[in-house]
Symmetry: C2
Subunit: 117 residues, 2 copies
DNA sequence: TCGATAATTCAACGAATATCGAAATGAAGG
DNA sequence: CCTTCATTTCGATATTCGTTGAATTATCGA
C-alpha cells in the first residue's frame, strides 16, 4: 500500500460527516446501508452526503452496490485493515499489537532508545 | 478520545509532507529531530515545514522541546496509540489484532453477518 | 409511458489549506 | 551589546474543501 493511497484514506476519514458515515457502515456490517438512510441518520443533505461518500469511495474505504432504486454502501474492511496496518508499521516504530511488548499499542522506539529509560 | 481529536489527528497525517515528517520522527525515536534537519530531509522550505509541524503539534501527535537554539520535535506515541486504538474499536467492528480471529486485522462484522459466509 | 422515488452531478460560493519569501523572535557566543 | 544561527510568524496567493439548491440519471410501479 503506497503512501498516496494512505493519504487519501486518512483524508477521507478526517472529516466529521465522513468519519461518522464510515462508522455507521462498519456497524452495519456487510449488508451495508442505503445512501438515504445514511443521510437521514447523519442529518446531512443528500447532495452533501453524496459528495462525502464519493470521497470515501475514491479512497477505497467503502463500496457501492445498486439494489433496486437504492444505492447500498458498505465498508471495505480490507482497506481499513491496510490503513491500520500501515499506521502500525510506519508510524509506531514497528513494535505493535502483541508482538513483543504485550502492551496495547505502539512502543516508543527501537533505534536509539534504551527502551526503558 | 473524542471524535474531534481523532479527526484532527487524521487530518494532520493526511498530507504528504506531514505524514513523511511524522514517519521520520517515529523512526528517530524519543530523541527526536530538529526542525532544520526535518526540513532538509523532506526538501521543504523552512517556513512551509513550520506550518506542517504546527498542525501535527496542534493535533497532539508530536511534541516540541527546545534544546539550545534548536527546536527538537518528537513523535507522541501515546497519541498515535490512541488514534490506532480508536480506529480499531470504531472502524473495525471491534474484532481486531489477535483477539479471536487470529487474523492480521479487522474482521468483517458481528451484527448481521454470519462471520463465515 | 408517466409519475414517483432514490440518488448523483452541476454550478457557485465562502472557508480552509498549502506554499513561499521576507521580516521577526529567541538563544548562544564573542 | 551585537552578531549569528535556528525557527517561527506574517503577508499574499493559488488551490482544494465543504455546502447547498437545482437539474439529471436511474429504477420501480401502475
Amino acid at each position: 500500500m503506497d503512501a498516496d493511497t494512505i493519504i487519501r484514506a486518512l483524508g477521507a476519514l478526517a472529516q466529521e460527516h465522513r468519519l461518522a458515515a464510515f462508522r455507521l457502515l462498519v456497524q452495519a456490517g456487510a449488508s451495508g446501508l442505503p445512501a438515504g438512510v445514511l443521510a437521514e441518520r447523519l442529518a446531512v443533505p443528500n447532495s452533501s452526503l453524496s459528495f462525502h461518500l464519493a470521497q470515501l469511495s475514491h479512497a477505497g474505504l467503502i463500496r457501492q452496490e445498486r439494489q433496486g432504486r437504492s444505492l447500498i454502501y458498505s465498508a471495505d474492511y480490507a482497506a481499513m485493515n491496510g490503513l491500520i496496518g500501515y499506521l502500525m508499521e510506519n508510524c509506531c516504530a514497528g513494535a505493535v499489537c502483541g508482538s513483543d511488548e504485550g502492551s496495547s499499542g505502539c512502543a516508543p522506539a527501537i533505534s536509539d532508545e534504551r527502551k526503558s529509560a
